[in-house]
Amino acid sequence: MPTPFALFGLPATFALDLKVLERAQRELGKTIHPDTASDPAERRALAEQSTVANEGYRALRDPVTRAELLFQLAGVATGDGHEPKPTAAFLMDMLEKREALAEARTSKDRATVEALAAEIRTQRNAAEAALSALFSGVVPSQLDAQPALVHLGSLRYYRRFLEEATATLDEWDDA
């Protein structure tokens, strides 16, 4: 089975233009749409291909799963027990920001939630830029895996934080 990158005709690299990905998904979607076939067996086959394409699209869209895919291609294990532990300074920073977010949520302090989210987005963008650089132009076997894994771990923390901040803001908007 082709990798999600190959499926959409994209280079296997971290720096990915989401607009290009979207366009590639639309193009592929047209050619494998189940409605294009009249034969039931062919329709089923196309439906399966569409599912694979949708999963691949989602995996590439999310920087965390995109990085995980690239590690997999490089033969580097990720996940539980395979990644370096975050530094004490990083954990302290995340704990303090999560506490500040929880307090702002309780006191309904929208400005603080937005400011914290903006700060984390800056940190996230820096981690994504670092990953782009580490994955750019290297053959998988030459990947400098340890620093790249540190950035992947950081990205998961940032994603968690931003999910929490977004959920808080959405809740207030709905109220």
Partner: protein
């Protein structure tokens, strides 16, 4: 995935949430994280002269199992000597909370947090002793 009743109970009514003064030399602080899921856990112990843990507090940002594991850990270590607390294994937490395989790392995190808090306490005591002896 369904959480066990004990996990839900601890996650909804976590025991010992809070902070101890990390600058107090009878307080040990453990700060640990699981990069695979983005969890962060702080566990603190206050140790009496007799080496018994008088108080324990935690703060965890993570899933219900991570909160329950650290809540249970603080409950268990209170009143224990630091040596007894250090002997607690993540498998004890798994058994008590009935954690499924995908959540075992939460119990590992809690065990690491206990050990890291004890290590911090011991390092502080050693530093204190060095200062006292140096003054003699």
């Amino acid at each position: 995935m369904a959480y066990s009743d004990k996990v839900i109970e601890h996650a909804e009514n976590p025991r010992n949430v809070g902070t101890l003064n990390k600058d107090d030399d009878s307080v040990g602080t453990g700060l640990v994280g699981a990069p695979a899921c983005g969890d962060v856990m702080r566990l603190q112990i206050k140790v009496g002269e007799n080496g018994v843990i008088e108080d324990a507090k935690f703060k965890t940002f993570g899933c219900g199992s991570a909160i329950a594991s650290s809540s249970l850990a603080t409950e268990w270590i209170k009143g224990k000597s630091i040596d007894e607390a250090e002997a607690i294994k993540n498998s004890d937490i798994v058994a008590e909370l009935n954690l499924p395989p995908v959540k075992i790392h939460c119990s590992v995190l809690a065990e690491d947090a206990i050990k890291s808090a004890i290590a911090d306490y011991r390092a502080k005591q050693a530093a204190k002793k060095a200062v006292t002896e140096g003054a003699k």
